[in-house]
């Protein structure tokens, strides 16, 4: 059963501005699916979330959550969704416990009835229960925000960049928590700028300039990568980047961690060894290493952008 059905949503913030979101396609998210949206800053992720969370109304198109229209049934929608904005937005002058109690009572619930859902997350916050929410560390704030958006046991959970500014171990914990929630049948939509996290999603949508460039499972996106990809290193990495861009067989070149990744133009029959020799002889690079590699999600993303 489809939990979320999106029908070419569009939202523009000003008449002279390009639309922040203009999907032009239909997307459905199944019940209990962990759906990722990845894209650079300004891709329209937050605007899309705000539309789905009934905070802004779309200019065109429509969407339903669990069969409820986000415009017509917005009041009912609000009872079944949890939304965690990218920015910390709880009451920083209230304590951890008071925040949780308040958001539970906002939905007409108490903490005990859904405590099982948040137990794993909240146990880490328990020692700080009486601390003001504003005085928590970044990771703890995120945990509290997640608890507050889960306390009414929503059917659909929206998380807008939940791992931005959070340390790696907290990030891993969060994804483990999401996996547990997913097992309980919750539909989760999460946006992120970290490609390694997107691997944990059932399906990801790559978003740019308000549009979904592709929507598929991470493995299928990777297997659909149809170019030859090489990883290149030498002693002078910065000069190497510029030199690679002058090589005719190279289509696209970008830094990837401590190496450079290049894609080759279709039909270019150059082997990694040939390229290595060319770089050493013509550009006098030393300690050149060129290897043919398999694409990751990030490579797919970098190469999608230009379409």
């Amino acid at each position: 059963m489809d939990s979320i059905v999106i029908h070419s949503l569009r939202k523009s913030y000003g008449r002279n501005l390009p639309p922040a979101v203009d999907l032009q396609t239909d997307v459905t998210v199944a019940k209990g699916e962990l759906f990722g949206i990845i894209g650079p800053d300004g891709a329209g992720k937050t605007t899309l979330f705000r539309m789905l969370a009934t905070l802004v109304s779309p200019d065109a198109g429509s969407a339903t959550l669990e069969g409820l229209d986000i415009v017509r049934d917005y009041r009912k929608v609000r009872t079944i969704i949890g939304y965690m904005p990218g920015r910390f937005s709880l009451y920083s002058d209230l304590s951890v416990r008071e925040n949780l109690e308040f958001f539970a009572s906002v939905f007409g619930k108490d903490i005990e009835s859904n405590y099982g859902l948040i137990e794993n997350i909240y146990c880490r916050l328990k020692p700080f229960e009486d601390r003001k929410a504003g005085k928590l560390s970044g990771g703890m704030k995120q945990k509290l925000a997640l608890c507050c958006s889960l306390i009414h046991s929503p059917a659909v959970l929206f998380l807008d960049e939940p791992t931005t500014g959070v340390d790696p171990s907290s990030r891993r914990e969060l994804w483990e928590n999401l996996a547990q929630l997913k097992e309980q049948g919750m539909t989760i939509v999460v946006s992120t700028a970290y490609m390694d996290e997107a691997d944990r999603c059932d399906r990801v949508a790559m978003m740019k300039s308000g549009r979904f460039l592709t929507v598929d499972s991470p493995s299928r996106i990777i297997s659909g990568f149809d170019k030859r990809l090489l990883s290149v290193r030498s002693d002078e990495m910065f000069r190497l980047l510029n030199d690679l861009r002058t090589v005719s067989a190279v289509d696209k070149c970008y830094t990837f961690g401590d190496t450079h990744h290049i894609t080759l133009r279709p039909g270019a029959g150059i082997s990694p060894e040939d390229l290595g020799r060319e770089l050493a002889s013509e550009f006098s690079h030393r300690n050149v290493s060129v290897r043919e590699i398999d694409a990751t999600l990030e490579d797919c993303y970098m190469n999608l952008e230009d379409k």
Binding site: S89, F102, V106
Partner: protein, 368 residues
């Protein structure tokens, strides 16, 4: 619990979470009501007088003696010529010049008129006009006494005996205190709810409320009611001070005062909402609020009477609801008026309260 209930409790927790705000709530009326009326005094005393006595007669000495006995004046200089005196005035050593013409005593003895000249420095216009007024009344009283003594009954047949009703000693404090009570209620009832709503906007917490099933009506009502109660609390402090320290509202009228204060608080709450609807940041809201509060304070007769304003601005005061609240408070505090005496003011105040709240709700809905 109803949604209004827990929102109200949340407001309360937030307000008391920061000890600064409860302290402000108590200190604001306390300081305003106790310190300002003592400091701000429109009564004019110690007017510095430069005397140019060209007569140097018994009569001129009597006149000067009477002026000194009035207690309003201190003698700054005693000059022979008007030029010297005006020099003192221009240096700022004197406020008023009194020139007694040569041969005054003889002229009066012959039954002729003598002209006494008064020049006042009106840079400080209150001191100039009030001091000049005092001085001329002393001089005219002196001259009428002379006519009686001289048996010339026709010299001053009519005497004006002013009687100041409701504020017999023209005590400026009695004028100030109701004004300050209004200032207290404007500050608490206007700024607090506005700042609270806009800071929820700034912190993004309003979004968390908006994605929940809480109705906007309950959200706003919880703030207006909570801060309205705080306004009543601060207002009560100022009434107690007005009553027990300054002896105001001794004729009763508490019901009138509280009913008008509540209507006015409803107005200020709605007004604050309109301001917060149009502001995205706290800075914007506070500045906008301050702008209107200043207009309310300076143009609706709180500190300067409406009747002494320019005609066009007197018409403007009709669209300022503070004007009606000021009227009611002064009438009750000084005259002990009742509802029936002030029905127009009550009706107008209520009309404004209803209008602004309707406007607030309409503009709030447009936001989304």
């Amino acid at each position: 619990m109803s949604s209004f209930g827990y929102l109200f409790i949340k407001e309360m927790k937030q307000f008391f979470a920061n000890p600064f705000m409860p302290v402000v709530l108590i200190l604001l009326p306390l300081l305003l009501m106790l310190v300002v009326p003592l400091a701000a005094n429109m009564e004019v005393r110690d007017v510095r007088l430069a005397i140019v006595d060209r007569d140097r007669s018994d009569m001129s000495v009597q006149l000067i003696d009477r002026i000194s006995r009035s207690g309003y004046f201190v003698f700054a200089s005693y000059d022979d010529t008007y030029d010297k005196a005006i020099h003192e005035l221009s240096k700022g050593n004197a406020d008023i010049i009194l020139e007694i013409p040569a041969g005054m005593e003889k002229a009066v003895g012959r039954g002729e008129n003598a002209e006494i000249f008064i020049a006042a420095n009106a840079v400080n216009s209150t001191k100039g006009t009030m001091g000049g007024g005092y001085l001329s009344s002393i001089v005219s009283e002196f001259s009428s006494d002379l006519s009686v003594q001289g048996g010339q009954g026709e010299g001053m047949p009519l005497r004006i005996v002013p009687q100041y009703r409701y504020n017999p000693h023209l005590d400026y404090r009695l004028f100030m205190v109701p004004a300050l009570m209004i200032v207290v209620i404007i500050l608490i009832g206007g700024f607090f709810p506005t700042m609270s709503i806009v800071s929820e906007k700034e912190n993004g917490t309003i979004e968390q409320i908006n994605v929940s099933p809480v109705r906007k009506r309950d959200f706003i009502l919880s703030k207006v009611v909570f801060y309205g109660l705080l306004g009543i609390f601060a207002f009560t402090i100022s009434i107690l001070i007005a009553h027990f320290v300054y002896g105001l509202a001794s004729n009763g009228g508490m019901l009138e005062i509280y009913v008008s204060a509540m209507i006015f608080l409803v107005f200020m709450g709605g007004f604050g909402l309109v301001i917060s609807n149009y502001s995205e940041t706290l800075l914007q809201a506070v500045f906008l609020m301050l702008f209107f509060v200043l207009i309310f304070m300076l143009m609706s007769g709180i500190f300067t009477p409406v009747s002494s304003m320019e005609t066009w601005s007197q018409y403007v005061t009709y669209i300022l609801p503070t004007r009606y609240f000021v009227n009611i408070l002064r009438a009750v505090c000084l005259k002990g008026s009742h509802f029936a005496d002030m029905s127009f003011d009550f009706i107008m105040l209520s009309v404004f309260a209803v209008f602004i709240n309707v406007f607030a709700i309409v503009t709030y809905k447009k936001q989304n």
